[in-house]
Amino acid sequence: MMAVAFSLAKREFTRFARQPQRVIGAVAQPLMFWLFLGAGMGTSFRPPGLEQVSYLEYFYPGVMVMMLLFASVFACITIIEDRDAGFLQGVLVAPVSRMAIVLGKVLGATAIALVQVLLFTIAAPFLGLSLSLFGVVLLVMGFILTSVGFAGLGFFLAWGMRSTSGFHAIMMVFLMPLWMLSGALFPISGAPAWMNVVMLVNPVFHALEIIRAPFYGGGLDLLGRSGYLLSLAVVAAWAGLSLLGSMRRVSRREVGV
């Protein structure tokens, strides 16, 4: 199963690398978002308890999550065209486990996302942020889990879609709000109570937590914090469930009435 998944994932990556405009788009958009918003918000961002933190720094992990989201969405959008009239037709009739088909896409998307977000991590020292060695390990784990969660969710949603424009709509009204309500743009503490609840059940909030934590918490000691562990568990569950859900969708055959 893994051999097939890796072969399919490699295809995703090759395709990505061959479309320079996609590489540029995926990296440049979040980067611009970060720099412009960071510069614009500059001094007006003073939430209680975070007086020392510039907006550029506050927003930094949020942009990372955004990159992971975009990479997954871009990878999953091809599912719609590929399934009914393209490459996936041949994969679906091949003697491969349905999970391998899902994993191929998800791992491909994750590899692409990792390259982008690791490049972006180079900016950390310029913000005065530092990572311990174990912190790097935890950070990469956070990247991978989050990316698998997004790609799995993207796969699940795209499989049910007939058109790419429908998927764009889902992206705008569902995936982007998940990200906006994750604490990426503003801290959860300042939001109204109802929004607080939404944010807490939002897996992207927890993804942001486990990506932000290594920049501030050091290394090993993070594993002793219940807040961190809870978020880690939520993100892992999200990733696992979205993979299972996607696999079930792929296995289901359309039925005549």
Binding site: V4, S7, Q19, A85, Q89, G90, V93, A94, R253
Partner: protein, 322 residues
Amino acid sequence: MIQINSLTHTYPGSRKQAPRTALDALSLSVREGEFAILSGPNGSGKSTLFRILCGLALPSSGAVHIGGIDLLAQPEKVRRILGVVFQNPAVDKHLSVIENLRIHADLYGIKGADFSRHCDEALAWTDLADRLNQRVETLSGGLARQVELAKVLMTRPRVLLLDEPTTGLDPASRRNFLAALQKVQRDRGITVLMTSHVFSEAEDVDRVAIMCEGKLLAFDSPQALKAMIGTEMVVVQPMGEVEDLAAILRAELGLAVRRHGDELRLEETENGEGLPMLESILERWRGQIKSISIKQPDLEDVFVHVTGRAVPDHAVKKELPR
């Protein structure tokens, strides 16, 4: 090898659209090692049948066995012995020819020396030898189609389903492909079910099935099918109103006269009967006739006869040399 028993498939309707029955109690069985062609007007349900045969859709009712395995219950077992060419391209345009082949080999667990051997065999008939590293998007439509076909032959399937595989190929590559396919098919005893609108492809296959509106109308060897409508036929092109002359011929000769576009066809004529008939028609109704001829029926005529309508336009167009 392929056994289809009273298969019915109805697509669920939506608010704007009534449910549509694409297959209607269709039964068909293809023997092991047989080369069968499936033909039928557009929308007659061929692709629907293929979606079911490759395990992508579950029919409303009926049963399908491939190689003795119940396809509807165990599609994953059937996939191992199945090769499918889809009506729409299934190659990745952004990848090179060889990359496409390699991924496909990975899906079927073909590695190392096996891969090069299968690959050489599958590419032998194509014009792709010096283009293996070229991306598929930079190939012509026909060459891209060749990649598709090579990809499927590479996995050495025991049962091969092809949905209009030669669409877009020029006559030479179509012939090459069919020759290669028939050679592989005979050498390996592959069972082939292929849809096609090009009747010249069907002349030397084992059996030809003709379906219409989800029902199987005929399934027999090309010879037997042609014998169905006699060994000769007289084709008349009337000068004026087609139906007028049709009515006259029917009344005066007491023969079945079929209209096909602007022609009238007198079928089921045996050898040697055609000429006297032609002469007597010409003698009596000369003024109303633009042209008249005798021809030996081919499969296209059988198709017209059986489905009661003209061959779809685009099929005719496909026959034109490019």
